[in-house]
Amino acid sequence: MFMKLKIILMCFISFSALWAAPSSIDSLGLPEVPENRYQLDEWEKIDREAEIWYTFYTYYKSGEDEVKHGLWIERTRSRDRERHATDFEETRKIYYEGEVSVHSVVSIWINGVLRQRDYILSEDLRVTVKFNEQGQEMRGPKANARGGRAKKERIIRVFNDVYNLTN
């Protein structure tokens, strides 16, 4: 009897070790702040006529080569050139020693108000936050489910921190 119980418990422990709580966000590999480096330079380009009217990234020199390291931003305007500063889509990525991250953040501004932000962890996994015309977050009923919101907020908080979106 006790032997059977022991075997069952051992099986449970083995399964537990294999599955190691995959429902946790810890298993996803959240964005990490790139390692600090000295002599990190910034590159910025603003061209109001171009569709991608704003480009920004940081880099350091390795010999003659530029190695991107840190935040990378690209803003694409709508068709109305005049409204390029108020109606655009922004994509942020992170470079790690020249390697671009899997994750990214895509934000959409309309009439100067942030209306949507997608925190993309991978191709299939993203957290989308929508805002109304006043810039207030719009949640669905499910967003008020206990615990889920906290989990989302923690993801967002990590992205915001890494992608410098707190301002």
Binding site: S16, S23, I25, D26, R139, G140, P141, A150, K152
Partner: protein, 952 residues
Amino acid sequence: MSTEALLDIMWILLCAGFVFLMQGGFLCLESGVTRSKNSINVAFKNIVDFGLAVLLYWVISYGLMFGSSAAGWVGTDGFFYTISGEEAPFQYSVFIFQAMFCATGATIISGATAERLRFYAYLFITAVFSVLVYPFVGHWVWATDYLGNPSGWLAEKGFLDFAGSSVVHSTGGWVSLALLILVGPRLGRFDDKGKAVEIPGSNMPLAMLGTTLLVFGWFGFNGGSTLSFGGGVPLILMNTLLGAVGGMTVVLGFIPITKKLPDPGLVMNGAIAGLVGVTANCNLTGPVAAIIIGAVAGVIMLGTVRLLEYLKIDDAVGAIPAHLTPGIWGTLAVAFFADAEVMGLESVDRMSMFETQFIGVIVIGFWSFCLSYVLFYLIKKFVPLRVSAEEEHAGLNISEHNARTETLFLLQDMEMHARTGDLSKRVRVEPFTEVGQIARQYNKVIDTLDLTMSRLKSIFQDLHDGIITFNSEGNVLSMNPAAGKFYGLEPAMAGGLSAWDLLVPESRDDLEVHQPVDHEPFDPFRAGVMQEIHYFRKNSRKDEVVEFVASKGSFNNEVIYTGLIRDVSETVQTKRSKSRLMSKLVGAQQSQFYAGMCKQSVPVLRNLSKRIYDLSLSLPRTIPDPRLKTLENDAQEILHLTDDLRYVEMQGSLPVKEVALAPFLENFLQNLVSEAKYPEFGETKLSIDLDDNSLQALVAPSALEQVLEILLLLSCRESGVEKGVVVKLESCYLDHPLSGTEVIPAGEYLTLHLVDEGEGIPEAELDEFFEGRDRKYKDIDLAMAESMVRHMNGFMDVDSTLGEGTTLSIYLPIARDLEDPGEPEEAEATVMLIDDHRPITRLVSGLLHKIGYKVLTAETGDRALAKMKETAVDVVLLDLILAKDLQAREYTFRQIHERYPEIPILVSGGEVDAQVLATVIQEGAAGFLEKPYVPSKLLHMVKREAMAKKNA
């Protein structure tokens, strides 16, 4: 780790602490509102269910609840929950917080089913709740995927239960309800008519402290459910607070309406109901909505209390009214009161939301109730869930934990007093405790009671009158020593004896009831009426009369009778003696008158009869005339009578001579029948039983004939023609004076009994039977007959039973023919004669002296032993019934036999108890001589034993 992340962890852990504090709150609340005899059990269950629930939660339930979802029904991983990495601190905090919730749900069941469940059954119930009920429901509502999106099927439908109105509180309530239906109410919760009987709590202040702790802990319960510390927390805490206040105040508001005094238990449950009500929605509503939800929850709680009483469901702490129905209400209230702005929505589709919430409530209720009901029903088939009635009565502290408290000690000591009635011991006093104060005061009461009881007991013990108590079934409960002494019983052995068997026994060896036939039948339950009971004590051959008066009382609804038994034998005897003395005085006066007349007439009568006799003899006998012979006989009889009368006048007694009674009687009865002096003698059948008796009595034959004629005439008339009369001759030895209608001294007698089968004589008339003429047959002068027997040193007695007949007895002294034993075969033998009847001592001594034996005499065993120390003895002749030595019988025999086993002991006696005789013979008595002694047999046996002793 960021500051925000650390803050979240700190907040969750703090709230987990708050929720843990709710365990303490439940412990205090449940212990306070239940009885103190179960308090340890209730508190203990609150501790152990926490331990068991958390352990199981870690092993399996957390995985089932929050593991990767299988189609939204159940989690499939995260068992033996272990995690590493950056998120570990946060995840462990969440686990701790969630584990507290699981323990809280289990504790709800503990309160509802308190005071009746077996401890191990409760542990099993906790396990079922923690593994099979709670994690499944929790998964449906609270499980999320990697990104925090709902993964439980109910949550995906949009079901909202923020902190667990349904998931925790309703679930616990549903399981409690299933259990309560299965195990039933506590003993005494509902009376015979089904009306609810309030079972008061043992410590309401403690219960109130528990409620306070619960309200405090609820801030963590709801506040921590955000699992992060953000701006929404203050509103949640605000709503929590207002929900409690709403629930409590609405119950208070109902007090004036119901015109009842404030019930602390209801008010406390009102607060808890309000808290449960806002738990599902406190993150989605505003303060106004919160206070309304709380108030409605309070009203629902009151209604549920009434409903449960109506359904005769006994919820010990009101867990169902406080958790189940307010939980359902709170869950549904989300649809009514959810604020779109707070929810971050444009608008709320309340109908759709209500539909979802309603489905959720039904499904959760169905799962929790049905699953637990079926499981517990099956378990109940094999293992009892509930303690026995005795254990419940004693309290679960004792029956389940063998726990001891000062209250228990006090109750045990008081129970001992109640059970044994022994007030000599005092209850234990625990110093510096409230119970100790009660015990001290109780001991003071016992001191006074003991003193009063001692005084009463002293009276009860020392009273000469007997006192017995018996119940309505006639079972004797107690008796005092006087009653015990009278009936020859130890008072302690009286318990269980029937009052009938004690007072009017049917089969006792030593005591017979001789209740007069004309008396009403004895009834011990006839209170207030004095009844007489007549006894005959066989050993002492004494008549005894007691007066019995019963009084009726009650104690603890049981009817108790007290009977006073007063021995009035002496009073009755004195009355009878007085009556007899008066009769005798009157008789003496009459006798004196008759004596005077006789004195004058006897010489004349004698001369006349002498002349008639002489004349008759002188007449010529040529012609035989039978009349002459008759005349001659009559004259001769008158001459004898007048001679007797003169003898009596001169000597004070009749001239007696030794007459062998058997032939005398045979001759007398034959003449009586043939002469047919009275027709009765010819008509009535006479049976004669002379027992081959050859002993002689000292009698005056003519007087005895007169007496026999008178008595026989009476017996024949009484029996009538159809029935007969028995004339019986016996010899007897009376050891003790025979007390009846006449006191007859001890001695050897020939007894003549005339037994008829007539109607009998009433007892009241027996005392004065020989005082004058017979009451029915006035021509029969019984006083004369009795007087004549007395003048022969004899005695008369009468015994009669109404409806059965009468026995007339004449006791005549035996005439001893001292045989000449001849020359002694062996001289120099010494005999120790132990007998307290001096005439016998003299007779036996004379016999033994004649054959040259030396005789030592003693009246008691002790004196005999003293003499035997000084003088060697060859044979002991011991009377087994020594009136002067109450310890005689086998005791004296044993004493002599143990000290002098070589000396043969002959035992003797008249009516010796067969058992005593058997005992002494078995123990080595040389032989038994029956009294009255036959001299030849006596001498033969003494000689035989003396010879044997010499030869040995």
